[in-house]
């Protein structure tokens, strides 16, 4: 997809720099002339939104770290100090805490968009796997960030999640002790989580660079799943066409983000986390943050400790194998009548698991969790099988065809207006 560079240095300085470090050329090729399928819908703006969220989280996070104290005796009060005394501290802290949730909102839309339009299929397997790695890093970062205020949910979340590793045979207990840096979740745990919470976002940024590199190498998928055939007809230059659309999507997203930050800043959090950590009392009902709930439900659905951990991990890792699980050659589910039904069922299953993850571990929730867990993994089995017998709908011959709808009138209009516009 990456053709010859169209960058032409205009001034002497640009030519001088271009001969030594073609960084402007790189940015021009990636952000201006990069050809984008012309039929992308608003769901494709979520990549840009995610970059925005990562940058926003890093900026607000670095600032919060200037005022926060990673010490078990002072962490809770230092967060309250940010909320009360630091100039705009309440704003920065709410942006960061709600930003984590909005980051996951965006990443889930991004993932489901990729699932629906088959963005994981050849030649985008590596691109997809890099995405799964980013997702895993995000989960680790978010989890450790939630520990930092050292409230009840922080403490007990840290206890429960680190204890997951104790399920591993032989080495499990040792791993947990090493994670804690002691014999329970305590100050050393908080200190190392703070350090890693600061580090991981930059690792995410690194993998994001690889993700975008892979994307620009293979080119973007599009709602038809038909690859670009004629760059001239099927694509538009990234700037201004995709830039302005991404900006529009971003601002729409910010509206939702701002709604939570300014009007419902604690909606996605837990009241219990405003109680300082107390190792002597577990909150009556502990649940992870909403974005972990489906996986938490899968964990609890399995009556065996190791089995639960493996199922939960498997639920994420299986995504990485999707390119080879799905046997259909057709990418977009728009043209896959059977797979499409399964996709929407999968969406409902994930929502259902999320709901169950927030419910107490009682009947009937446990049984329903088990059914939905089976259905979750069943989706992947289904994708493997459906491809064999499903008869996809007629694919458009090209992106341009799909856009112009093959309508004679429109084509005529287009060809008629072209010379005019050129003149």
């Amino acid at each position: 997809m990456s053709g010859h560079s169209t960058y032409q240095p205009k001034t002497g300085i640009e030519r001088w720099l271009d001969a030594r470090l073609p960084i402007v050329r790189l940015m021009h090729d990636a952000g201006v002339s990069y050809p984008v399928p012309r039929n992308l819908n608003l769901l494709w703006t979520f990549g840009g939104i995610l970059v925005f969220m990562l940058v926003a989280q890093i900026i607000t996070g670095v600032i919060l770290a200037m005022h926060y104290t990673p010490n078990a005796n002072m962490a809770f009060n230092s967060v309250e100090h940010i909320m009360r005394d630091v100039n705009f501290g309440w704003l920065l802290r709410y942006l960061h805490s709600n930003g984590a949730s909005m980051f996951f909102v965006a990443v889930y839309v991004h993932i489901f968009r990729g699932l629906y339009y088959g963005s994981y299929k050849a030649p985008r397997e590596v691109l997809w796997i890099l995405g799964v790695i980013i997702f895993l890093l995000m989960m680790a970062t978010a989890f450790m960030g939630y520990v930092l205020p050292w409230g009840q949910m922080s403490f007990w979340g840290a206890t429960v999640i680190t204890n997951l590793f104790s399920a591993l045979p032989v080495i499990g207990e040792t791993i947990v002790t090493f994670l804690w840096g002691g014999y329970s979740v305590d100050n050393p745990t908080l200190n190392r989580f703070f350090s890693l919470h600061f580090l991981l976002p930059f690792m995410i940024a690194g993998v994001v660079v690889l993700h975008i590199w892979a994307l620009h190498h293979v080119g973007q998928n599009n709602p038809t799943g038909v690859e670009v055939k004629d760059v001239r007809k099927d694509t538009v230059p990234f700037t201004p066409y995709a830039t302005i659309k991404d900006l529009f999507g971003m601002v729409l997203f910010m509206l939702v983000f701002a709604w939570f930050v300014f009007y419902q800043p604690n909606f996605m959090g837990h009241a219990d986390n405003y109680i300082p950590a107390n190792p002597a009392a577990t909150p009556a009902h502990i649940v992870p943050e909403w974005y972990f709930l489906p996986f938490y439900a899968i964990l609890r659905a399995i009556p065996d400790k190791l089995g639960g951990v493996l199922a939960m991990g498997g639920a994420i890792v299986i995504l990485a194998f999707l390119p080879w699980i799905d046997t259909s050659k057709v990418k977009s589910m728009t043209y896959r009548p059977i797979a499409r039904q399964f996709f929407w069922m999968f969406v409902l299953v994930c929502i259902g698991l999320g709901y169950l993850g927030a419910m107490p571990a009682d009947e009937p929730y446990v049984t329903i969790s088990r059914i939905l867990t089976v259905l979750y993994f069943g989706f992947f089995v289904a994708l493997a099988l459906i491809g064999i017998f499903e008869r996809p709908a007629q694919l458009p011959t090209s992106i341009a065809d799909s856009v112009l709808g093959g309508s004679g009138a429109r084509l005529a209009h287009a060809t008629a207006s072209e010379p005019q516009a050129k003149g």
Binding site: Q264, W290, I351, H413
Partner: protein, 288 residues
């Protein structure tokens, strides 16, 4: 169409997934009160905060700490609206432990606006010892630390109605919820009290408020403008607790409105700019 469907589906799904975290069990849901600070234009009622502070100071603070609150907070914008000199005078009525001095001794001195409210007990153990083993929680962020389960689908609607006053609703209900245990309730042990809204109904705190217990400032007619009843005290205390937990609430909502208006206008402009730009394509029937 499928795009719109998928967006709607995801939104609903994510909303669904945000499950409220609270113990089920024997819970009576507190009635919703009307608060001056609810909603997008919410503001604290200064007179209410001042009354709430009076009750907190005279009653609650005897057992509950408010260690994150400093005297100066009472004079800051968006709060109860005390003047700086009032706050200085108030601070001086408290003795603050300071030191060590040059001879290495800790000493007590009158409070200054920058000092935090001194806690009624030196540590948790002392607090428990004085309260029959129960620890009166710190009030500083209590209004955000208490909630009750909203349940589906209410918590989804809450996103749009901006209902987030579970804390003060619960605290108001709790303060007014002392009652005789119903028939068949196991006999209360010493140090246990029955409360309708406490999960499990057993609460260590004895009924803290009684009608007429706290004298409210008189209006021009020589009478308090609001009734001096448990209900009124409870509401005023709850409002004050919300302010303590979220002292920048007014600034936040005010800035929120500005940001929302700005973003809405900007989104509109971007929409039309995008349309214009995409219309440059000769066959722009394509633009979705």
């Amino acid at each position: 169409m499928s795009l719109r469907l998928s967006l709607a589906g995801l939104a609903a799904g994510l909303a669904l997934a945000v499950g409220p975290a609270f113990a089920a069990g024997d819970v009576v849901k507190p009635p919703a009160q009307s608060w001056s600070f609810s909603g997008p234009f919410g503001k604290f009622d200064q007179a209410q905060l001042q009354r709430g502070f009076k009750v907190v100071k005279e009653v609650c603070a005897n057992c509950h700490a408010m260690s994150l609150i400093r005297f100066r907070n009472l004079a800051q914008p968006g709060g109860p609206g005390f003047t700086t000199s009032q706050v200085e005078a108030l601070a001086q009525t408290y003795q603050i432990k300071d030191g060590p001095n040059d001879s290495g001794e800790m000493f007590e001195r009158p409070g200054r606006p920058a000092d935090a409210f001194p806690s009624p007990f030196p540590n948790e153990q002392a607090a428990r010892a004085a309260n029959g083993g129960a620890y009166p929680p710190d009030m500083s962020v209590l209004a955000k630390a208490r909630t009750y389960e909203r349940g589906f689908p209410k918590f989804v609607f809450d996103i749009f109605t901006q209902y987030q006053e579970q804390g003060p609703d619960y605290i108001t209900a709790l303060l007014t919820g002392y009652a005789e245990p119903p028939q068949g309730f196991p006999p209360l042990l010493p140090g246990q009290n029955y409360n309708t809204y406490m999960p499990g109904h057993l609460i260590a705190m004895p009924k803290p408020l009684n009608d007429g217990q706290v004298e409210y400032p008189k209006g021009p007619d020589g009478k308090s403008p609001v009734p001096e009843t448990v209900e009124q005290y409870a509401k005023d205390v709850s409002a004050f607790l919300v302010w303590m937990a979220e002292p920048h609430l007014e600034a936040r909502k005010r800035m929120g409105l500005q940001v929302m208006i700005f973003l809405a206008l900007f989104a509109g402009l971007l929409y039309f700019t995008k349309k214009k730009i995409w219309s440059r394509l000769p066959d722009h029937a394509s633009a979705h």
